[in-house]
Symmetry: C2
Subunit: 220 residues, 2 copies
């Protein structure tokens, strides 16, 4: 934990578009953030550009220092990154934000055979890690621009407390976090990313997102 | 076509919650609707309750009379219904609204091996049928209540003209139809239904839905 009582957040792939956008948003909200990269030097350089509250380290070091670890690497590095950090994240919350896009057809849904990237993460990390899945539908450009992002974040986990902890983290980066059920349900948000890419291209908009409607209409 | 130039809509499973809700909404908007059921008598009785503009028939008859056919049967009857109507829907638009829920765990995403119900429909019906996928996330209760439904309808198809024809049909039943790409992308909307069922239970709300944000923010 940081001195301010907030969890330290480590971001694997923290030099990428999504990772650095999340780092910026959480640093702005008072979290201590360690961005990870395959190269410690590259991470340190990117961190100094992101400003106060952000440090840089090699992925394994960043995961070791963090209380909550975010996976924001390209899907091609997903499994290898998880294997690397597995020993230092036991007992921690690991938030999988990787989207199983298969280039070049990134606007076509191509979910993995396991059902979702999130379920693959749980299998690799084992039952000692609280895997949560989130941040698939938030455009990186909007995070970098600052201000409220008009996009709900669907949050999935088989562990209710871990899911709620990540829902709390969402308020710093988006309209709100909304629980979406177990890890198996992550398929919906992972698939939606390709749909939103298609919508951005077809409707020529900057950053389509989603909002959950009807949450304020309680059952009679 | 009806005398008013609007396509005749045939709804397989038109006596069910979703099917009858769609029938009501389209009849209200001036479309001629034929609801289908396994039993012609049951369909006729349900149609007379739905009021003016709605007729009832056995599924095969309803599909024969219709210009656009909606599949609103439970997933357990999905394949058999498509096999039955296959000969009479060649050249037509068939809109798959069936959600691949696997009872009893309907709040857990369990997509079919083929990827989506919609892709299964295209395989069964063959290339001569324009398969579109839509209406997975609109609560039946809201359709029956009347008035605008605060839920966007994601519309998928490999045929652009068919997709646009169904987007036009959406305005009578929901906030709006939004194109979501090819039939493979239907997995996103089909999976979202289980997520929305989970949200309704957990947040104790009446009818969670989705809205696509950012469509009005054009690229610079």
């Amino acid at each position: 934990m940081s001195e301010n009582g907030k969890p330290v957040i480590g971001i694997m792939g923290g030099t990428g578009d999504l990772g650095s956008g999340l780092a910026k948003a959480w640093a702005r909200a008072g979290y201590r953030v360690v961005i990870g990269s395959r190269s410690a030097e590259k991470a340190a350089a990117a961190a100094s550009e992101l400003g106060e509250g952000v440090l840089g380290a090699a992925n394994l070091d960043a995961a070791t220092q963090a209380d909550i670890v975010i996976i924001a690497v390209p899907f091609s590095s997903h499994d290898a990154t998880l294997e690397e950090i597995k020993p230092v994240v036991q007992g921690k919350i690991v938030v999988d934000a990787a989207v199983p896009l298969v280039p070049p057809k990134v606007s076509v849904v191509q979910l993995p055979v396991a059902g979702s990237a999130a379920q693959m993460a749980q299998t690799i990390l084992g039952e000692g890690v609280k895997v949560v899945s989130a941040f698939h539908n938030v455009g990186a450009a909007k995070l970098h621009a600052g201000g409220r992002v008009e996009c709900d974040v669907l949050v999935f986990s088989d562990d209710k407390d871990a899911r709620n902890a990540v829902i709390e983290l969402c308020s710093a980066v988006a309209t709100r976090g909304v629980g979406g059920g177990s890890l198996a349900n992550s398929a919906a948000a992972e698939a939606l990313t390709s749909v939103l890419i298609w919508i951005n291209r077809t409707y020529k908009c900057l950053g389509a997102g989603i909002s959950i409607t009807g949450l304020d209409t309680p059952k009679a």
